[in-house]
């Protein structure tokens, strides 16, 4: 009875404020679209600039429309101009990044999954301390490990190589991947595992037959997170590699900063788009998982 009363007076209230609401909603959309244009503005500028010739850039403004679909600067950014020395272009570095990202994502995800599995389903005394021990690795400022890492890579003979970068990214990805899998497996009922153990299933059988088949969502979250982090990394790439072994972000920065000739903003923008497109595609296709990684990791480094 009282509930009915409440909801009917609530409806009246809604009616009364209908007209103020109209105004408010227009204001709401105005502000939201204003911010949307602020966020979209740089992307728009990048795309139109990359399609212009330098002549058009000098004559027009940031927002002006290109005269046509001119992909010349894209071709230069990707494949160079065709002369020898000093011709830097992104193609080889793009492949460097792929060769670095794929194994690093695989290893760090695998190690994280196994560790998360042990920490939740094979609990032992002090396991929460082990988790805390690993978790702290999410937060350290990497400046505190750069010097010894450079020396270690040198001692192992893998400085300035893709292998070295794979090692670095695998190691510093482990705290995050462990966090993801641990938090996911915590919610899987332990009874399932216990029953399987009574039936005589071993450690690996339980993992591959019971946990792995239900892990698809968290694997997607982890892979996207690691892919984005490693693809976008600049600190490790620029510290531990140079020249031909550099990943794409380092190459992009070098291309943009090299001031040998006249600045070619159209080529710069095309290069920046090429370096950003892989993660952007992943974001558009799997935004839901990307956001889940961001908010559950919530400790972005």
């Amino acid at each position: 009875m009282q509930d009915n009363l409440k909801s009917s007076s609530y409806q009246q209230l809604e009616q009364k404020s209908k007209y103020t609401n109209m105004f408010l909603r227009w204001f709401l959309y105005f502000v939201l679209i204003l911010f949307a244009s602020y966020f979209i503005f740089p992307l728009y500028v990048m795309v139109v600039t990359s399609l212009k010739t330098m002549e058009e850039i000098r004559q027009g403004t940031l927002l002006s429309w290109p005269s046509g679909l001119n992909f010349d600067s894209w071709a230069v950014a990707w494949g160079g101009r065709g002369y020898g020395a000093g011709d830097t272009f992104l193609k080889p570095y793009f492949w460097n990044s792929i060769k670095m990202v794929v194994p690093a994502v695989f290893f760090s995800t695998f190690i994280g999954a196994m560790t998360g599995y042990v920490l939740t389903k094979w609990r032992f005394k002090g396991d929460s301390w082990v988790f805390l021990f690993l978790l702290f690795g999410c937060f350290i400022p990497f400046q505190a490990i750069l010097l010894p890492m450079a020396r270690t890579l040198g001692a192992l003979g893998i400085s300035n190589s893709i292998v070295g970068l794979v090692l670095v990214h695998t190691v510093y990805g482990i705290p995050f991947t462990t966090l993801f899998f641990r938090n996911y497996y915590v919610s899987v009922p332990t009874e399932l595992v216990k029953a399987a153990r009574i039936d005589g299933a071993g450690f690996f059988k339980i993992f591959f037959k019971i946990l792995l088949p239900i892990s698809a969502p968290i694997i997607v979250v982890t892979v996207i997170w690691q892919f984005t982090q490693i693809w976008n990394d600049f600190l490790f790439g620029s510290t531990f590699s140079f020249g031909e072994a550099a990943p794409i972000q380092v190459a992009l920065n070098n291309m943009v900063l090299s001031s040998t000739s006249v600045k070619e903003y159209n080529v710069d923008m095309a290069s920046a788009i090429i370096a950003g497109v892989p993660t952007l595609i992943v974001y558009v296709l799997a935004g839901k998982y990307f956001i889940r990684g961001l908010t559950s990791g919530a400790v972005k480094g």
């Binding site: 911010f35 927002l63 094979w122 400046q143 010894p148 510093y172 943009v256 370096a275 972005k300």
Partner: protein
């Protein structure tokens, strides 16, 4: 033997992670800490030298400028990210049409690297052909916008780009927080005559305290570590006017052969992060245990 293996299999499987983190995180941090107490130049030396590097660090004009820049950047970055993030989250929470599209637009910068966005912003903010020219062509003939090459103002261009990159993330955190609040609470408040503004200001935002806390920690963490964006946008210039601790550290370590000094600066950064993170981890763990 086989029995032992079977019994300890879980621990053996976990050993790589613990070993790698123990060595590459804890071992390395301790090594850096030790080196910060030595007089290492090009190569590490292992004789202890006391607090000399820290004294040198805090007497260095460049370091003081980078700390100053870090404080200015962090304060503005925090304020703008949180204010914009909250406004967007609250507005998006009003059963907006095309919410998904707007959310995607607000958050996409998070998917890009700071080098990519830094490159874009550098082009947009450049004084000759960028925003300045756009306004002049629009008829504002005396419009000048030279922050990127202006010693006093260059640090604010980094704020502009940093806020653009991270505000959407704060929006996502707050939107998730607002969505987790029971509808009944809002309805009850409205029946009691509270307007929309009061509902948010008095009831919902105070409930978002943990989200404020999380955003604060993450944003401070991002700003202490900020390196890529500065490299791409200003390289610490003009002069050294936009240098920051992370840039100071890598330059001292890899360009100036001041290994001991760079270790000391790295430890200062480490302590700054720890001062924010340890209380956060502590409160998170307490919350989890209380559940």
């Amino acid at each position: 033997m086989f029995k032992w293996l079977e019994k300890n299999l879980p621990k053996i499987v976990m050993a790589p992670a613990v070993g790698l983190i123990g060595w590459f995180v804890y071992g390395f941090v301790l090594w850096t800490l030790y080196i910060s107490f030595t007089n290492s130049k090009i190569l590490p030396k292992y004789e202890l030298w006391g607090f000399g590097q820290y004294e040198k660090l805090w007497a260095s004009r460049k370091w003081l400028i980078s700390v100053d820049n870090l404080l200015v950047f962090t304060a503005l970055f925090l304020i703008f990210c949180i204010v914009i993030g909250i406004i967007l989250a609250i507005f998006l929470d009003q059963k907006i049409r095309a919410e998904g599209v707007l959310r995607t637009i607000y958050l996409y910068p998070m998917a890009l690297s700071f080098i990519v966005t830094g490159t874009a912003w550098k082009w947009i903010l450049n004084p000759t052909l960028g925003i300045q020219k756009m306004f002049i062509e629009w008829g504002f003939e005396n419009f000048t916008f030279d922050w990127l090459v202006n010693r006093e103002m260059a640090i604010y261009t980094i704020v502009i780009a940093g806020v653009w990159q991270s505000a959407g993330f704060v929006m996502a955190l707050f939107l998730a927080g607002l969505r987790s609040v029971e509808d009944e609470i809002v309805k009850a408040a409205k029946i009691d005559g509270a307007g929309l503004f009061t509902v948010y200001w008095r009831i919902l935002l105070p409930m978002m305290r943990p989200v404020f806390f999380t955003s604060f920690v993450i944003l401070v963490h991002i700003s202490i570590k900020s390196y890529d964006l500065i490299v791409a946008l200003t390289q610490g210039g003009p002069g050294i006017s936009t240098t920051m601790p992370a840039l100071f550290m890598t330059q001292a370590a890899f360009h100036k052969s001041q290994v001991g000094l760079s270790a000391a600066s790295a430890m200062m950064m480490f302590m700054a992060v720890a001062a924010v993170i340890i209380p956060y981890l502590y409160s998170e763990l307490r919350r989890e245990n209380a559940r």
